[in-house]
Symmetry: C2
Subunit: 940 residues, 2 copies
């Protein structure tokens, strides 16, 4: 039961509130209250609560009972504090009226300043300030603001009148107008208001205030505000507060002024007062750019006491809020007033420095320091970027050619080259090159490896080019559709401007921009950024997830270790197959594989027969078998197949030795060959063109035959949907010899290093498992090889077997699969493709980006892990995997492993580690720490 006399408190004087009351007072109101509370010089005022706004709507847009009384009462208190009286012509109190919701909604509603002015108080103000022009200008501004915001009159009408009067007076600037001119402006403004509203402009200050408060309430539900909240997912039921504050004027002469200050340098993070001020100016003049503000340090000379007071306040506020603050102040006739304080926006570099410094100073704890930096800021600090002056010059010089997708961040500059071979040749010769292609495919990787950056005209943010570039930490602009690459003429055309091969270009993968000519770049080094190193050390103390890296080559592994990787979570062996000198051998193996396989199967049948033969026929059966084996081994395809495998065995053993040597005793997860074999063969389309051309031109018939043979081989192997084809463990079950060679190379390398005294930890990962029998059989197959290798060498190395979890079915039967594995590693790229039924390569060039743009999908699921779908499968897999094998190690090696929100999800699932590209290891370390802190907070 509420009695009528129990009126709710709707209005809070500044000293009645504090920083914790954002819900009730809004962000601005709470800040003013807090400053007042700690005794800073804040012009007196009060805040009408958000509850009042909500009640206003509930009551059908009328002030809740008691509100107006409380406003008037609070106003009286303010009058006392200010020593002025609202509407008193002799000593008028003027106020500002501002909206302020819990969450900042910039631009939702403007401010009304100078409220309380009318024909009479205007005179008082002129008298008190001895400045008639100032008073008229203040009045003119008030009518203009009130007219637009409260009365809803089109702002253009006011500007039009102002322009008219200036023209009539021959004035160029507003400041050229004299008091009398402004008087004329005011008269015309008042007439306009009457014409537009049919009523006189309100002269009663209380009426002005009532209408202004109502306008602020109404602004909560204007279209702009609703759209803004919908977009930012802010609740519509929060309501806005209204702050009413005594006006102070920085434009009352040379003992007045306005300024903004940061308690630390927002660009560098250095601990010193930073900011700008103007004497004899109002706040908006500082930011408007009509006069050039001066550095805050000069205030020390001009107003030493004010400076000292401000510096003191800055320290107090930073201590109080335990974070760098962004302050607004006004000096009115030698007296300092604080108008706003809020957390300072900052650059990536300053964010890191401030966080580390403050933790060292003891201002904040280490966990807070970790939460003060965005993982993306770490990434940004480690990417090469253009020298800003160089870039500005390029833009000014008209050298910006086009803009594509910002597919992999960082800046690069070099000669445009149109094919991978040429890129490799020039790159190896030390020339910086940018590889420019319509799109890239695995054949181009050798060129991408040496290029400084990659530019494609087709393909989305997860196209081959984009993914590989991110993996390599190289800048990439993808899907730059406004350039046409003419491969035949070896040039590209960007909106009419032609760039020939070997001309210099520059690309910014952070923004997607493409420039003609060279722009100097700055390459930051991890070691030169001790604050990052410090912060990430704290991250290591906090995080629970291991952070591993995806690395295929020793130099990537070394980079990963430098960045703090604790292991390799994915070493893709097939990338090694694409290297120039090896590809012909790989192709020889692949072309011979089907025939070799058929013959091996025949041999197997004979072997089984021999085993099953009764004792008296054993001898005969064995001799039949050995004859057959001899015959089969003499067949060219079989010889080719095994010869090629032997050569590859040598190469791969060296590959793995290289990685193991870098990683030492850290675990190295090596994935067995994964892509469909036809990816290693020439492209089908190219062969068709070649064959057709030779045929049409009656060319060399031997060549025709050779090419036709190759074409047929490619046709036999190519697939409608290679993504879902003969790849992953399916290859190993169809061509066991390839898997066996790889395991032999892995364990052989490990044993060689063991003999050198290194203690290496290979973990063998079997891709694309969907049925428990697959992992069981491959494991049996490979353990046989492992035993052979151990017998041959007389050495044992510890090794583990695990599987990629990258097919929905694997997640659904994870308990069964766990029985045959020591670890799971979620391949969330493919798992997302199959769970969503989306081919990444196609979708990003097709419907997917449109889906994301139109909000059909909340995000690109290849960038941010889809918790609802893919995540549910992961959760199922983790639970049933661990219930079958409690000590099962579980990680993730998809691209999501380097993305902060996905890392948070992996943490919440209880994974053991995330693995990402070396360049994202620092990001992942911070994100993992933040995830751990988030969990800790939730657990509180």
């Amino acid at each position: 039961m509420t009695r009528e006399t129990d009126v709710k408190k709707w209005v809070y004087l500044f000293h009645e509130g504090d920083a914790s009351m954002r819900d009730t007072l809004g962000g601005k109101g709470a800040g003013l209250a807090e400053m007042t509370k700690v005794g800073l010089p804040v012009p007196p005022g009060f805040t009408i609560s958000t509850d009042a706004c909500n009640e206003y709507y509930r009551a059908g847009k009328s002030f809740p009972s008691g509100l107006w009384d409380q406003v008037l009462q609070s106003l009286r208190w303010v009058e006392e504090q200010a020593g002025k009286k609202f509407g008193d012509p002799s000593n008028p109190l003027l106020v500002s009226v501002r909206s302020g919701a819990k969450f900042s909604m910039p631009g939702m509603m403007d401010t009304v300043l100078n409220l309380g002015l009318n024909e009479k108080t205007l005179q008082g103000l002129a008298r008190l300030t001895s400045n008639e022009r100032f008073a008229h200008d203040a009045y003119r501004r008030f009518i203009q603001m009130f007219g637009k915001i409260v009365l809803g009159i089109d702002a253009d009408n006011f500007e039009h009148i102002l322009d008219q009067v200036k023209e009539e007076q021959g004035a160029r600037l507003d400041t050229d107008l004299a008091a009398a001119d402004l008087r004329e402006v005011v008269q015309r403004f008042l007439r306009l208001a009457k014409e537009e509203t049919g009523k006189d402009f309100p002269q009663d200050p209380q009426e002005q205030l009532r209408q202004a408060i109502q306008s602020v309430f109404e602004s909560w539900n204007n279209k702009r505000a609703i759209d803004y909240r919908n977009f930012h997912k802010i609740s519509h039921t929060l309501g806005t507060a209204v702050s009413v504050q005594t006006m102070v004027f920085g434009n009352m002469g040379d003992d007045s002024g306005s300024g903004v200050a940061f308690t630390r340098d927002p660009a560098t993070g250095e601990k010193q007062l930073y900011g700008e001020f103007l004497t004899n100016a109002q706040g908006e003049d500082v930011v408007a750019g009509t006069r050039t503000p001066r550095y805050i340090a000069q205030l020390k000379q001009e107003m030493p006491e004010i400076y000292a007071e401000l510096a003191d306040i800055a320290v107090k506020l930073e201590q109080h809020y335990r974070d760098a603050q962004d302050l607004e102040f006004t000096v009115e006739r030698g007296r300092l007033y604080m108008l706003q304080t809020r957390a300072a926006k900052r650059t990536a570099a300053s964010a890191v420095k401030m966080a580390v410094d403050m933790a060292r100073e003891g201002l904040i704890a280490k966990p807070e320091a970790l939460q003060r930096v965005e993982p993306a800021q770490i990434e940004q600090l480690l990417m090469p970027r253009f020298d800003p002056r160089g870039k500005d010059a390029a833009v000014a010089g008209g050298r910006l050619l086009a803009k594509g997708l910002n597919a992999s961040p960082g800046a690069a500059t070099g000669k445009a080259v149109f094919d991978a071979d040429k890129a490799q040749a020039l790159g190896k010769a030390g020339e910086p090159v940018i590889l420019v292609r319509p799109e890239t495919n695995p054949d181009d990787v050798h060129g991408m490896l040496v290029a400084k950056g990659i530019l494609t005209s087709r393909g989305g943010a997860t196209s081959h080019a984009a993914v590989v570039a991110r993996g390599l930490g190289k800048p990439c602009v993808a899907g730059c559709e406004s350039i046409q690459v003419d491969m035949a003429a070896r040039r590209f055309n960007a909106n009419g401007r032609v760039v020939q091969e070997l001309e210099q270009i520059s690309i910014d993968g952070t923004t997607g921009e493409v420039f003609a000519g060279l722009i100097p770049t700055i390459e930051p080094s991890f070691h030169d950024q001790p604050d990052i190193i410090q912060l990430l050390e704290w991250a290591n103390e906090t995080k629970r997830l291991g952070v591993w890296a995806n690395a295929d080559y020793p130099k990537d592994a070394a980079k990963a270790v430098e960045f703090g990787a604790e292991g390799i979570g994915l070493c893709r062996t097939e990338h090694m197959f694409f290297e120039e000198e090896r590809l012909p051998i790989v192709q020889k193996m692949i072309l011979a594989a089907p025939e070799a396989r058929r013959l091996e199967e025949e041999l197997d049948a004979i072997r089984r027969e021999a085993e099953a033969a009764p004792a008296e026929r054993k001898e005969e059966a064995r001799s039949r078998l050995s004859q057959a084996r001899e015959r089969v081994n003499a067949i060219p395809a079989v010889r080719d197949f095994h010869e090629a495998l032997d050569v590859l065995l040598g190469y791969q053993t060296e590959d793995f030795k290289g990685i193991f040597r870098v990683m030492g005793c850290r675990p190295v997860v090596i994935r067995l060959i994964d892509p469909p074999l036809h990816e290693f063969l020439p492209r089908h389309e190219d062969l068709i063109v070649e064959v057709t051309e030779i045929r049409c031109k009656d060319g060399d018939s031997a060549l025709l035959q050779e090419k036709q043979g190759l074409l047929r081989a490619v046709e036999r192997m190519r697939e409608q949907n290679p993504m879902l084809g003969t790849r992953g463990c399916r290859l190993g079950l169809m061509y066991p010899a390839i898997n066996e060679m790889q395991v032999r190379a892995i364990l052989g390398a490990a044993i060689e290093l063991k003999k050198e005294g290194l203690d290496v930890r290979p973990e063998i990962m079997i891709p694309l498992v969907g049925h428990v029998n697959e992992i069981r059989l491959v494991r049996e197959q490979l353990e046989r090889v492992a035993r052979q290798v151990e017998e041959e060498s007389g050495e044992k190395v510890p090794y583990k077997f695990g599987t990629m979890m990258e097919i929905p079915r694997a997640c659904l039967v994870a308990g069964d699969i766990a029985r045959y594995t020591e670890f799971f590693s979620f391949g969330t790229n493919d798992l997302t493709q199959t769970t969503y039924g989306i081919s990444r390569d196609d979708a990003e060039a097709g419907f997917l980006l449109s889906y994301v743009e139109r909000g059909i999908l909340p995000a690109n699921p290849f960038q941010i892990l889809d918790r609802e779908g893919v995540g549910k499968l992961m959760d199922l897999a983790v639970k049933s995997g661990r219930s079958a094998k409690p000590d099962l190690k579980i990680g993730i090696c998809g691209e999501h492993g380097g993305e902060p929100s996905s890392i948070e999800f992996c943490h919440s699932l209880g994974l053991n580690y995330v693995s990402c590209s070396p360049f994202r290891v620092p990001v992942a370390r911070l994100a993992a720490a933040q995830a751990a802190l988030g969990t800790a907070e939730r657990d509180k």
Copy 2:
């Protein structure tokens, strides 16, 4: 507590057991016991229990305590019954010893007959039968069987001796040997046994019996038996029983004989005693084929009393077992003995007739009748098949050309034609044709529609050809790799035999055989098979699942209704797009679509701007919009796009009217366009060849330009993995106009028919939904159209919206999706592809068949639904879908909907209906009834 004196009962006299004791007595023992129990003339005997066998193993291969005593005791009882004595030279009892497990394991162990013979009892037998030759032959046979089975002597050795003696005596057949010769054979057999075993052949009948029992026990664990049980998933712990039975002889003169009889004709099911017999012969002579047995009817003349007795017994046994029986009998000197009874094997036709007849006779209940027929038998009865004589003649005449995969059952004969256009032309002219292609694709469907059968040289059991053929109920032999199709020369080569276009060929899709020339076929009609109709009526009374059909054309729908379909579960609208006259219009639409889409989006932006414009600028914004619309509509791509859609709207309206008219008030689920648009365009490879050829030959430059344009368009649209590309609802979200046209056609057709007085029930199905927003937006989009159509026509038709569940993610978020749908339909073809990460088209030509052959997968998951993986997702979807919307209707329209074990699973999940190709509707009805009965049984 078991006292030592409480010896377990190991041995059961025949009259102590019954049919229910298969666990203990094995199948054979239980049958003999049952016949004895009901008073039939069974030679006396006893059965040693399976428990004894198991205990034998537990005790380290020694007889359990009490067993031998019980055997001897039982033997004495048998002696009394038989009036003969075991080992008594004057009146010897001879016995057979046979194994018999709970489940029949044919060939696991042979029988030992005539046990009890030795040098002395042999004389007795000779005397008693007055037939010395008979006695010696019996002894010879006994030694031979015992030697092989119990003593483990290689059977060849005995045969060798027999051959030697025959040679020495100049005898050609065994029967040419006289008593003295057989005496000689016996002597040599006994010597052989001593040489091989080092011991004399056991002369003591009890010792013979002991060893024979032990041998039967041991046979349970021989390799053959273990392999058999592993393969058939029979437990190894069941053990075998041993039946010991008095010998009777059918070869004791013309008043003796042996035979087999069926209580009903196993070929036709007719109710009459059916079988064969031989006088003066033993059981094996009847089946050996050395003498031609006579029809059982003749027994009536020769031994009228015996016949009457047998006929009487047959009726009794059928009544007793409530099923047709397969009997073995022997007549010894005018006396009838029954040796075996078991359920009779039967043909598909007889299975149906027997089941229906027996139910009508009241012998069995309707549910039992339903369980007596295999669904596959129904299928078999409804398929066209070759006239057996015609096929035999073709094989004999050497016309069998090759054998491929039996991809779609049935037989077809016609002219070989090598492309779809020609097939269509000839087919429409009334010529029966067989379409022969290396493989088929959607471009070939118009040819497949008119062909009698399809033959491909590539592709697996779920290749395009196979799937479409099964859908159409047409015979198909796929992946027939031993034929080479030469498209240029228009002929194929089958192992050297060349078949030119238009030559007659015949294919058998049930066996995979391909023949040269014509073989007459028999086309069974559903209406001519009243027993099937009756059985399926009973099925309808029993089943809980609805059985619907997948049908795209009115004539398929009519077929489906004839077969008893209760609705259309999947009408694929895109098949209609492939028709010859429509394809150019479809292509025109597709080529214009991207440009039209881009322009529509621009218009949308202008429209949104106009909507947001302030009041005073509304007018202006609207006129800008209408100008823009005019401009856009004048652009050729936009005009083409809408013109093509208008034409298609007309076609599709007629399509749907056709289907609705056939289906009447039954529900018709129409799926909106699903395949990626590039499937309707010319093949990429073909265009490359064309363009290259024109270029090389400096051909017509206008043509070159046109083709290059087309090639570029195809290249823009083609996808790496079209299965996971821009298809399904993604198309409708990218090109709403296509979906809108289809919905307009569906509802327009429904309204037209409503005006004719028909009450139609369209259900609109949205394919490939993965995220709730997709279904929400498409539904909104289409409901807008529905409202427009209703407003335009002033009529309302009831319609439903639903979604295909064919992506794992849809199943994982089914609860959300259910909120926007009235029904789910599992598309298990695609759901299997994505859950398993297997592209069906590729896998069946690649690793999948090898996986199934090698047992890596238990079955082809595209044929038999994978309960463990796909089924788990379905289960999740059903549960969360129904919990969000309890009345959600759920069906399945993947191929699994016509496969009995998958239907059983769908029943157990609680689906509302299965939908399958029209030709499988009868199969599905029976399978659904059996599923319901199975559940009822489990619930008992």
